[in-house]
Subunit: 139 residues, 2 copies
Amino acid sequence: MIGRLNHVAIAVPDLSAAMRRYRDLLGADVGEATTLLEHGVRIAFVTLENSVVELMEPLDGASPIARFLERRPQGGLHHICYEVPDIASSLEAMKDAGVRVLGPVRVGAHGRPVVFLDPADFDGALIELEEVRPELQPA
Amino acid sequence: MIGRLNHVAIAVPDLSAAMRRYRDLLGADVGEATTLLEHGVRIAFVTLENSVVELMEPLDGASPIARFLERRPQGGLHHICYEVPDIASSLEAMKDAGVRVLGPVRVGAHGRPVVFLDPADFDGALIELEEVRPELQPA
């Protein structure tokens, strides 16, 4: 079912500082910072040769990322996103297997449908599934 | 400096259960479990189209993974590994920038030199650098 590792997201307390570290210290290709109001975050993508790292800073205290940073003020690995060809059928399979789904399917940072699975059902790792239809997959 | 996202490692309390979840529930390509005595872990690789997820279970209470699981018994995202072409020069750049390095360069799960950077210097995310020389990079 799962295809590519779409991205790994890191919650950071200071996006600008994190972007500088990835750009200047690790020599990576860091994009512009973008605000995603509906997700309560400001993000920047680090484009690697085969995948992407998403740096995320909370916009305010109501953001789920703010709650993460309350527990881990330095930041930390937040979630891992796998691509699936059909999010509706993936969701059905998860529910059939008793996996808890966190909230409804929403539109993610890439403008595609995403959903989060309860970390309690996946070894404490927060998993995002993102629908990337086969005809849209990178060659 | 950093090239590919080599792998993401997830600490798990029960490797067999985690392998089943990735194989049966997520439909992923899960390899055989392997014991790495010198790292104190039993691991299995989940091979995705563009990268790898490493599932890690501690061999005993002395394993660093065991200490991670004491804090997070369900498991969790443990580290992210980036490839570098020359680990010695990467290390020098890190030390010059004041980044703390955790222990010496060792031989990692893929038989190549690896080193870990202090999460305190990278937004709480534990980063592993793995040397993959350009002539050994996958095409």
